[in-house]
């Protein structure tokens, strides 16, 4: 990462900057595309080119990305990477990589984070959080600590609290409503890179 220089066209740099910058706030930095690209490159040095002017089509598989130190211990790492990949299988191009870390950064607005958090928790990708999705989430968060009955109880209670229209599953509106009542969400749904 030190002496190699990532090459982007001016337009691409501009485009990245538009997406990634924000007016200066006291204690928030932002990433430059070359730094992010450095991280992307070191995941697979032989696959990722340094020269991006011709818009190369290079995607890294899920297994490589999930090994990053920021994601390695996260219980939702697979779902995170899958929700940001276009093919749904977790293969990220550099643009999608940038997308992922910009949504997970401090600067992303709450609505955007809520959209992607919903996608992450939606394991069967049916645009609803049903009981199975919640059970899978809970299992990822607690491993073997809770018995299946306890898991069911907690998930039922969660759906009961959040479901507004009574269809026993949570749509995005229900999810967003609950997120708006959890003030910690913005600070916990955040990965530093």
């Amino acid at each position: 990462m030190g002496n190699k220089q990532t090459i982007f066209t001016d337009e691409q740099l501009d485009a990245y900057q538009v997406i990634l910058t924000k007016p200066i706030v006291v204690f928030v930095g932002f990433f430059s595309p070359s730094r992010l690209h450095g991280r992307y490159h070191e995941l697979a040095p032989h696959l990722v080119p340094m020269d991006y002017t011709k818009d190369p089509d290079c995607k890294l598989p899920l297994a490589l990305i999930v090994n990053m130190p920021e994601l390695k211990e996260n219980p939702f790492r697979n779902r995170i990477v899958e929700s940001f990949s276009e093919d749904g299988m977790g293969n990220l191009s550099f643009n999608e990589f940038v997308d992922m870390f910009s949504v997970l950064s401090e600067m992303a607005p709450r609505e955007l984070k809520a959209i992607y958090a919903f996608k992450i928790y939606d394991f069967n990708v049916d645009n609803y959080l049903c009981k199975e999705d919640l059970e899978k989430t809970l299992n990822k968060l607690t491993k073997e600590e809770l018995t299946p009955e306890e898991v069911q109880l907690v998930c039922e209670k969660a759906i009961e609290e959040a479901d507004l229209d009574g269809d026993n599953k949570l749509s995005f509106a229900d999810f967003e409503n609950m997120i708006s009542r959890a003030p910690d969400f913005l600070s916990t749904f955040h990965i530093r890179i």
Partner: protein, 638 residues
């Protein structure tokens, strides 16, 4: 505007590729309408156009792009200089967001102090140094032994730019006319006002995002499910968090809760016991201070330069006592907290905070009373004396904070692991530590008027404290067992920083400027009735200047008259009332909308049921019809 458009594109939940094309397309046509269409229809037809079609736009805004790129590169540089980014990541990775709030708060306070130091040094100290490099120290005063600690009551420091007394009251004429009096007054006044504005806006923002939307139910299953802290990247911390989460879930939802009759009783007894101890602690603290302060007041009023070493050492007694009280009594409060049972964790934290805040306010109150009432009568250059007292307090507070790290965390760890394993490894007590930071910052805010370079010491102190706390944290503490509530705590801390502490410091400085007579022999305001009269003199001086009629009118009719303040307060109260009513109305609306959604859901399920019944009966009828036709057909054939 460009910025809003950029922000709007950034907020779209589309992939990066699509956003790139949106940007080039939209700025060619008037913005809002087009991107709203894109959100609603999600059509990619428009997005598939190539950049080449929009070359005119690209060439037009080349200059804009260049300017923007300059801005970006400046910000890039700023990002590489971002303070402590790596350490914050490490702490957040192991201990989670709530512990990280302490370090972020420390960094924020550091910014205040850096700004204050730059402003004071630039506007007050540098002109003095440029004009008169060697301070006019009387003969036979050297740099003595206890100087650094005592702030040199009788020594070298007293006459330098460190304290109020070292500043001249003349208008310095070198290259330009520089009125030191006005400079001193306005620098400090404007700095305090800016601080106040920064605090109020942070508090309001924090309140808006973290409190207004928060539900009162803090233990809902939903909150626990969504509270996973994505910041944590250390394997052991993740495992511990998972453990804690399962324990919390089990305790809250699965286990049977026994009737809490005894808990309520214990609650009350505990509170009473705690409050009694609290008040006696404070009374003892206050009573102790006066006898120690008396020796100071017995000194010779005019000549403070002949104090012996013993007398100087005596001045160290007050800060020593104050700081040790600040260290020891909160530890006792935490201890009581462990024995008391509370019905909710939130009440526990609030009670602890309240007790600590009251303790600190009481101590500061007594000290300030002494400084405002007794010291001006007893000493000639009393502002410098107060400045020195504050300097001593700041230094001792620093030492005791380091000691506190040792006792609070290191010893607790030793006790918890080797001697009393039941207690376990301690957790990092965020509330207590943040309160200590707030107290330290209040001392500096009070002291800025009396000792303009005090923020420099605070900067060093905060810097060193950051690293000490970080080392202590990583070696001695474990991640917190109960998660959540980091955002609410942050709001409370900012609110606490503003309300009793900053407002108190501001009132002390304002009282000094308004009511107290500056000392006759030293400092920039010597010879005046009160500090505020420099503004009066300046305005009077401006009467010869024809262009300043407006300023004079404003001064006479707005700042000096009481009716203006009365009217202003009235208008503000009316506006607050109107906003309050609007927000009440909105709350009602939200409740009604929720009810509407629930009703819609019921309607939907009712209609679905009806539809299914209809379909069933339709099929039934068709079947019957078919059978009848068959029978009819057979009958006709046969």
């Amino acid at each position: 505007s460009t910025r809003e458009r950029i922000k709007a594109i950034r907020d779209l939940p589309m992939s990066f590729q699509e956003k790139k094309h949106i940007r080039l397309f939209r700025t060619n046509i008037t913005g809002e309408f087009v991107y709203k269409i894109i959100i609603h229809l999600r059509t990619l037809v428009v997005l598939k156009s190539t950049p080449r079609d929009y070359m005119p736009w690209v060439s037009y805004s080349v200059s804009l792009q260049f300017l923007r790129r300059c801005g970006y590169s400046i910000r890039s540089i700023r990002q590489t200089l971002e303070l402590w980014q790596g350490i914050m990541k490490e702490i957040g990775g192991k201990f989670g967001t709530s512990v990280l709030t302490y370090f972020l708060f420390l960094k924020w306070l550091l910014m205040f102090n850096i700004f204050s130091f730059l402003v004071n040094f630039g506007f007050i100290t540098i002109p003095l140094l440029v004009y008169d490099i060697s301070p006019n120290i009387p003969p036979n005063v050297g740099f003595g032994g206890l100087e650094i600690l005592t702030g040199a009551v009788s020594g070298y420091f007293n006459y330098t730019a460190m304290y109020y007394g070292g500043y001249s009251n003349e208008t310095l004429v070198d290259l330009v006319e520089y009125n030191m009096q006005l400079a001193y007054f306005f620098t400090i006044a404007i700095y305090m006002v800016l601080c106040g504005i920064a605090l109020i806006t942070s508090m309001a923002n924090s309140f808006k995002t973290n409190y207004m939307l928060a539900d009162q139910v803090s233990n809902s299953a939903w909150q626990l499910l969504c509270s996973w802290d994505f910041n944590i990247i250390n394997e052991r911390a993740v495992r511990q968090r998972k453990n804690n989460l399962s324990v919390q879930l089990k305790v809250n939802f699965v286990q049977y809760k026994p009737f809490q009759f005894e808990n309520i009783l214990f609650d009350h007894i505990g509170i009473h016991l705690g409050s009694w101890l609290l008040s006696t602690g404070m009374a003892v603290g206050c009573a102790h201070q006066q006898p120690f302060l008396c020796p100071l007041s017995l000194q010779n009023t005019t000549d403070a330069s002949n104090w012996s070493l013993l007398q100087e050492a005596e001045t160290l007694l007050v800060p020593f006592v104050v700081s040790s009280m600040n260290l020891v009594v909160p530890l006792f409060y935490s201890l009581f907290n462990k024995f008391e049972q509370y019905s909710s964790q939130r009440r526990q934290i609030y009670t602890l905070l309240l007790r600590n805040v009251l303790l600190k306010m009481f101590i500061l109150g007594v000290l300030c009373y002494y400084w405002m009432k007794v010291v001006p009568q007893k000493f000639s250059c009393w502002e410098s004396m107060v400045g020195q007292a504050l300097y001593r307090l700041v230094i001792f507070d620093f030492f005791f904070l380091m000691l506190g790290s040792f006792f609070g965390e290191f010893l607790s760890n030793m006790i918890g692991t080797k001697f009393l394993p039941r207690l376990g490894v301690p957790e990092f007590d965020v509330a207590r530590n943040v309160l200590e930071l707030i107290y330290a910052q209040t001392l500096v805010w009070i002291g800025i008027y009396f000792s303009p370079l005090l923020p420099a010491i605070q900067i060093v102190k905060l810097f060193v404290l950051f690293f000490i706390k970080k080392v202590s944290l990583t070696h001695n503490c474990q991640p917190p067992r109960r998660t959540g509530r980091a955002a609410q705590m942050q709001t409370i801390f900012i609110a606490l920083l503003f309300f009793p502490f900053f407002v108190g410091a501001l009132s002390i400085v304002a009282y000094t400027a308004w009511r107290l007579t500056p000392s006759q022999q030293c400092g920039p305001f010597r010879g005046l009735n009160n500090t505020f009269s420099v503004v009066g003199i300046w305005i009077d001086g401006m009467e010869d200047n024809p262009g300043s009629k407006g300023a004079i009118w404003i001064y006479d009719n707005v700042i000096k008259s009481e009716i203006a303040y009365f009217l202003g307060t009235l208008i503000i109260l009316i506006i607050i009332y109107i906003f309050w009513q609007v927000s009440q109305g909105r709350k009602h609306l939200i409740g009604r909308l929720r009810q509407l959604i629930a009703n819609e859901g019921k309607d939907k399920s009712f209609l679905l049921e009806k539809l299914q019944n209809l379909q069933k009966s339709c099929r039934h009828k068709k079947q019957k019809q078919k059978n009848r036709n068959k029978v009819h057909f057979y009958r006709t054939i046969c």
